[in-house]
Symmetry: C2
Subunit: 494 residues, 2 copies
Amino acid sequence: MSDTDDAEQELGVTKSKEYETGEWYAEVVRKAGLANYAPEGMSGFIVTRPRAYELWERMQGFLDAKFKETGVRNAYFPMFIPESYLEREKDIVEGFDPEVAWVTHAGHDELEERLAVRPTSESIITPYIARWVRSHRDLPLRVNQWCSVVRWEATETKPFFRTKEFLWQEGHTAHATHEDAWEETMLRLDQYESTYEDFLAVPVLRGRKPDHDKFPGADTTTTVEALMPDGKSVQGGTSHHLGTSFAEAFGITYSDEAEEETLAHTTSWGLSWRALGALIMTHSDDQGLVLPPTVAPEQVVVVPIWQEDTRDEVLEYAEGVAEELREAGVRVELDDRDTRNPGFKFNEHELHGVPVRFEIGPHEVEDREVTVVHRPDGEQSTVAREGIADAAQVHLDEVFAKLYAAAEENLEGGVRDADDRAGILGTIGQHGGYVRAPWCGEEACEGEIKEQIAAEIVMVPFEDEDDLVDADHDETCAICGEAAERTAYFAKSY
Amino acid sequence: MSDTDDAEQELGVTKSKEYETGEWYAEVVRKAGLANYAPEGMSGFIVTRPRAYELWERMQGFLDAKFKETGVRNAYFPMFIPESYLEREKDIVEGFDPEVAWVTHAGHDELEERLAVRPTSESIITPYIARWVRSHRDLPLRVNQWCSVVRWEATETKPFFRTKEFLWQEGHTAHATHEDAWEETMLRLDQYESTYEDFLAVPVLRGRKPDHDKFPGADTTTTVEALMPDGKSVQGGTSHHLGTSFAEAFGITYSDEAEEETLAHTTSWGLSWRALGALIMTHSDDQGLVLPPTVAPEQVVVVPIWQEDTRDEVLEYAEGVAEELREAGVRVELDDRDTRNPGFKFNEHELHGVPVRFEIGPHEVEDREVTVVHRPDGEQSTVAREGIADAAQVHLDEVFAKLYAAAEENLEGGVRDADDRAGILGTIGQHGGYVRAPWCGEEACEGEIKEQIAAEIVMVPFEDEDDLVDADHDETCAICGEAAERTAYFAKSY
Ligand SMILES: [Zn+2]
Ligand SMILES: [Zn+2]
């Protein structure tokens, strides 16, 4: 028994999500077997363990299918970029230079030109798009790659949120017109929104970044933002309209229908494993990881509960249930380990975030039923053995709906209004979350808030969703009192 | 018409597979849109275009499913390895040090310890396996990652065969016993063999590398070898039994059933995009790319052939055929472009390697049939419209069988015997391929052949497939005349 107690101790999450969110997150990541920190000399890097990588693979499958349905083809470009290429688009080099890891030697020789480990790949992909595009018939041209990138940021490491190397996808496209590129930018933002909402059960807000916070070289950077339980916003994915700046720097022209050489318009868009961070932090609790069934490696765990004399019948019944679920395409695990008692198993599967537990003992066998427990709230019910696979699907859908509803409640309750500086500072200071305030459009006004409370403008709604775009109103900037141009969402952010 | 002529010119492969294999290969890779060379300053790197990447994705899907069915879980480890970690297994550092790309700076700072861009990941993965393994119940432990690695070799670039960065998978496992690790080594070699033979239609030989050509630190390196049409061997994938050398260097021990701390036995195994090189080179011809239907992005192309007055009926019929194939799960493209004539389309789809072409004109519509043409040999036949999806599958299977049979004939005819030095040199000089010869086991004897004709021992058959393993024979080494220990396969290799 002491052995079990020790093991249960080790399974237990000791930190509180509500009061020590950062420590709690780190503990869940470690104890649920999601990631380890990299060795000394490599602070800021992590090892992504199979349990987390499987979440990544499932999300990748969902998003990649959407890409392929909408004309995107995957490719692979070199992981290094010659320094001279990085310098060709001046905003890119200014934006990323302080964060670039440089390869200077190969074998025993020094390189003639040093190579950047890609921080993002516009500078190596765009020249090839320029080569492949000749005529308007070659447009739109869309490529995407799933890879890792390196950005040497000196901030504190947080697995999946802030790491020096991270997994992501980066899409790069070229179009004939500004409008086509804008449509592409929004299509990808829609797909990111759907990945968060329909797959990860994390509702998001969408809008654009203020001009001073755009991607280097971009006309417009659009974003989906998710609100974490500690009141901070996560930039969940960004889709950039790059205008003609990269086309100019790298020479993407096409001959249009009148055979005129014309500059193309490009976009790029990326979503990283930060989505996993948002997923883990949004749903998990003081018992460990919580996952929506869409992304969970195991959707249902079947735990048989037997005594010596009921062992055979209980196991046989449980195996039948598991088999029926498996045939219906449910990802199911039968936990028939002899060496662990049911209480230990319950704790372990809760820690690991299995969405639905089936408990089967002699009583369930006798009554031809199954006891069903939902991971997020422990809700317990009984379902008939007959039609068990359909019932499982109903319960999985219920768990998804519960998780989404809780996250939506957090988001909806987390948007507040303010119309002066004190209101912004006080509201964020007290509640976190988003504060919606009229804004003149000047970076300086954001700066004042940033300095005092480390909150920034994470998003401005799209024009058709922002009343202040209409010049015919008398709102004034909450900070400087000049005429308000836009509604700004202030928040602290990851 | 001149426009079409020009375009056809551009589609045409001008080099001969038989007489200029290297130039022909480079031309097929370029004209079929598979890869481009990287920019100046990055010689040795390539850009993998969507058409080639799709081949990689399909092969990855086949192999990854096999891995997952047999207990492998994917993970992701940092792309950098601290120099001190690389040095902990001395054979690894000696083996890879001359080829390592080094990151020395990040942003504007020099790093305290330089970081190797992974040439292979034993040195970063093994320490984590050591951390995760505690007891015999944690074994076997298996992880795999799909990633790219960098090896700064100064040889001539050949897309997919020899590049400084290449895509691969690397599997790493730990086991309780030497025997378990051996079983794992062979299981992965079997899966590589199956990938080549059952998926890429490329038959292979299997065996072990001579001791002096093992992976650094390995007990045994096993290999699958494919024979290219120019008579050179390609090392198609390797699976290494690492014994306890990495377990010792990085401290993988487990408490066995008697609670004794015991060293684990490890394996690693990798297959790279070289498989794509072997695929392309084996099957393609002077008209361009040839692909087996298993891996082809489009398995069937439907080309409607119409005149003004037959356009509607032909197109409608062709659309019906394409739709029926699609519903049956065949990857089908309907090429209904108005701007290209049928001859141009035939050439283009031949260049791109579409395995089966359906031609549909008024005659086919009238007789309710379809003309079917096989890409590899141009064989033409007529099939009934009724049951067209089943017929398509039959033809796809036939194309696969033809490709496999041709490659098998090349391999079988490419293995010859010799029992003295002149025989080895003469046979390889004249025919290429493999020369099977009795060998004493000494590296020096291989060295003599290598020096004279740049051929080496690419493989030694497994013990149970090698008559010479039995000491009771009187064969002598073809080079030195000492007693022969093993049968060696000499060949030139990529
Ligand atoms: Zn202002
Ligand atoms: Zn000898």
